[in-house]
Every structure is written in C-alpha cells, then in structure tokens.
Point group: C2
Chain length 136, copies 2
C-alpha cells in the first residue's frame, strides 16, 4: 500500500513571526533557516528544520486572507500537519474511494514542483491535513 | 546550543480511536502499530509511525479526564506536538531563563525511562508543546 514517508512539517499560525521566534528559535533553540514573504498567500512563513521535518510559523500580513480569518476566529496555535507521500495521486484515489473528502479534488503544484492537496478536517477527526509529493 | 532532534509525535484528540483509524489507517494507509489502553490518563492511544516520528490518535474513555474536557470544549483535532531533545534539563533551563512558562517545573519520567515536560501554550503562540528526552 502506498503510504506516508514522513511528517514533512507542522504549521503553527501566529500573530507575528518575529515574536514567535523569540520562543521557537531563541528559547527552544531551533534554527530559523529562512523567512519567506509569501505574496500569493499574504503570509510570512518562518521555516525551522527539526530532524527530517520542520516547524513552520505562519503569520498573515493582511486581514482578508484565509490564514488571517483563521487567526481571528480560532486564535494562534496548531494549524495543519503535512505528511509526505510517494504517490499523491494513488493516496488521493484511496482517500476518495473511502468516502473521505478532499479540499482539493486534484493536486496543485508549487513552483519547486512539489504537488500538494488538503484533506478536509471533517474526514480526519478535525485535523487539516496536507499531503505532499516532493519532486525528485 | 542544545536543540531538538526530531518531531517525535503529533497528537490528535478524537472521539473514538477506531472511527479515526477508518481514515488514518484504512484510507490514508498508515500502519497502526498498537493501541494502548492508558488507565492513568483515561485514554486510548493508537500509535501510527510515520518516518522517524508518529501520529498518535487519543480518545478519552471517561468524561472527567483532562483530554475529555479538552475534547468537550474544543472538539476533535490537533492537540499537541512533541519534540525530542537530547538534554531536556538544559532545554528547560533555557526556556525558563527566557521568561517562557513550563507546565511542569521539572521533567516527569515514563515507565520506559523517557523524561518529558510540557511548555505552556501561552509561551509558544498557542501550541501545547511536549518535550521528550528518550532513554538511551
């Protein structure tokens, strides 16, 4: 069975990336590899590698993005997890066949070639779950 | 600087472990290594390894445990993440020195020798963060 390879990342929504780094980098001791100013999603993202995965700290810089609305409604905290799979199409086929619901009917592709799609939280027990197939 | 080695686990609180396994094991394709009936915490825990970490599905079996109250208040979903560190005492010293707040002032020890402690969500940007130092 085609399965998940690793926890690619855990995403945390915060008010301010630099304030959050005061804990995650300066107090806890993680390394902040880089901070991305993502115009398409209207968020800043700090990437902090941990073993084979990473923690992502995500802060909206506008008030009308999806992440900004999530933050306003739910407050800061765990937002989603991303599992890397070797064949996202096969995994999505199996998920849909089980009756579970995907947010994206087909994988989207990032500029670096990574294909991704989200599973709806109502099918996972309340978890926003992202699937990644990383370009090799 | 003493840092984190890996994401040890991501914990998801659910109503019923077996219902949740219908997605995480049967549809997604993870392997359920075992299910623990944990009397001390009044929860069932399903362990699903992914790469160097695992997903834990946690369901309370009484209504008065901490997890049961969390579920009643917040609903099912992501509950906490656990980062493994090589020296929990050193990491806790640095966290406390930064002004961040621990839930446990000193590490507790599991029967298998793993030492653990939780960082308070108000210091992490809303994330309940567990630290593990695994016995070698």
């Amino acid at each position: 069975m085609t399965g998940a390879i690793r926890i690619n990342h855990v995403a945390v929504v915060v008010e301010d990336v630099h304030v959050a780094l005061g804990f995650w980098r300066d107090a806890l001791g993680l390394v902040c590899q880089h901070i991305e100013h993502n115009e398409s999603e209207s968020v800043d993202i700090a990437f902090l590698p941990v073993g084979e995965g990473e923690i992502e700290l995500i802060a909206p810089f506008t008030e009308d993005s999806g992440v900004a609305k999530y933050l306003a409604k739910k407050g800061s905290g765990l937002h989603h997890i991303c599992l890397e799979v070797d064949d996202i199409a096969a995994v999505m086929t199996r998920i849909l066949a089980s009756g579970a619901e995907m947010i994206n009917d087909a994988p989207k592709t990032r500029p670096d070639g990574t294909r991704y799609a989200f599973v709806h939280p109502k099918s996972t027990g309340g978890v926003l779950l992202e699937l990644y197939e990383v370009a090799r």
